[in-house]
């Protein structure tokens, strides 16, 4: 086992355990915390894959902003008391889990076999030399993917306006 493998299994196990904890904790705040742990493990995996910039953005955006927002809403609505009665019946749950296992088998099968010719040693060497940096990503983002980038800004603008409309209407209705 080389260090990369050890770290891969470590981060992989942590992210899987965190993910399972997200769907098994009763209380939303614990789910949110488990999700943060999963995101961290994924950031670690991104670092292993040489994607340092993506790893940093993962922590900044997901752990730093999105999950704080989740916590904020959970605390604001004070959901602790509500979560208990929200469970579905055991039979349906079993059915869902069986479906999930089937999906997992399918996904793993595809992941393990769909790559017809696995990247050989030369491709590995190529990845070493590319070693995607912030500079590379920026260059791609503002040249090749300029249109999608601008479209993303439109999506964000739409979301911004949408949130304002949603909340504004509420406060007017109260008055």
């Amino acid at each position: 086992m080389n260090p990369e493998q050890i770290l891969f299994y470590l981060f992989g196990a942590v992210s899987l355990i965190g993910a399972i904890a997200v769907i098994s904790f009763r209380h939303p705040i614990y789910s949110a915390l488990s999700l943060i742990v999963t995101f961290f493990a994924q950031a670690g995996l991104f670092v292993l894959l040489g994607a340092h910039f993506v790893a940093a953005v993962q922590v900044i955006v997901y752990a730093g902003a999105i999950m704080v927002l989740f916590l904020f809403v959970i605390m604001l609505l004070n959901l602790g008391t509500l979560s208990a009665k929200g469970a579905i019946s055991g039979k349906l749950k079993g059915f869902a889990v069986i479906l999930g296992i089937l999906l997992a088998i399918e996904g793993v099968y595809i992941a393990a076999n769909a790559i017809s010719d696995p990247p050989d040693a030369s491709a590995e060497a190529a990845t070493e030399s590319v070693n995607t940096t912030t500079y590379t990503i920026g260059e791609l983002l503002f040249n090749e993917y300029l249109l999608p980038f601008e479209v993303t800004s439109l999506i964000l603008l739409a979301a911004l306006i949408g949130v304002i409309v949603l909340v504004k209407r509420e406060s007017q209705a109260e008055n």
């Binding site: 769907i23 939303p28 993506v54 997901y62 989740f70 929200g86 479906l99 997992a104 491709a123 990503i137």
Partner: protein, 99 residues
């Protein structure tokens, strides 16, 4: 590590997200599971990006994150509105348009 290991991990994470959406009725947790699925996709993107030796996959990840952020902002605003109207965020109880 080989590409397959990362893809298998990604598939497992995605499945856990799907199961979460199926078995949980709390809208916020369903939302978290959607984030989990998006992240599994991100992992696959980055892994394939490395194995192909180009950075496009990582650019996609950044797009996914931007869209996810927009989606969370809207989604949580909707959840807060729903909660204020119905005092619940159980998705089974929020099943009529009349409010």
């Amino acid at each position: 590590m080989s590409l397959e290991s990362y893809l298998i991990l990604s598939a497992l994470l995605f499945t856990i997200g799907v199961v979460g959406v199926l078995i949980r009725r709390n809208a916020i947790i369903i939302f978290m599971c959607i984030e989990l699925m998006l992240n599994a996709a991100n992992l696959a993107f980055v892994a394939i990006s490395r194995s192909l030796g180009e950075a496009s996959g990582q650019v996609f990840v950044i797009f996914v994150m931007a869209v996810a952020a927009a989606e969370v902002a809207i989604g949580l605003a909707i959840i807060v509105s729903v909660f204020k109207h119905r005092q619940t965020i159980n998705v089974d109880e929020v099943n009529s348009l009349k409010g």
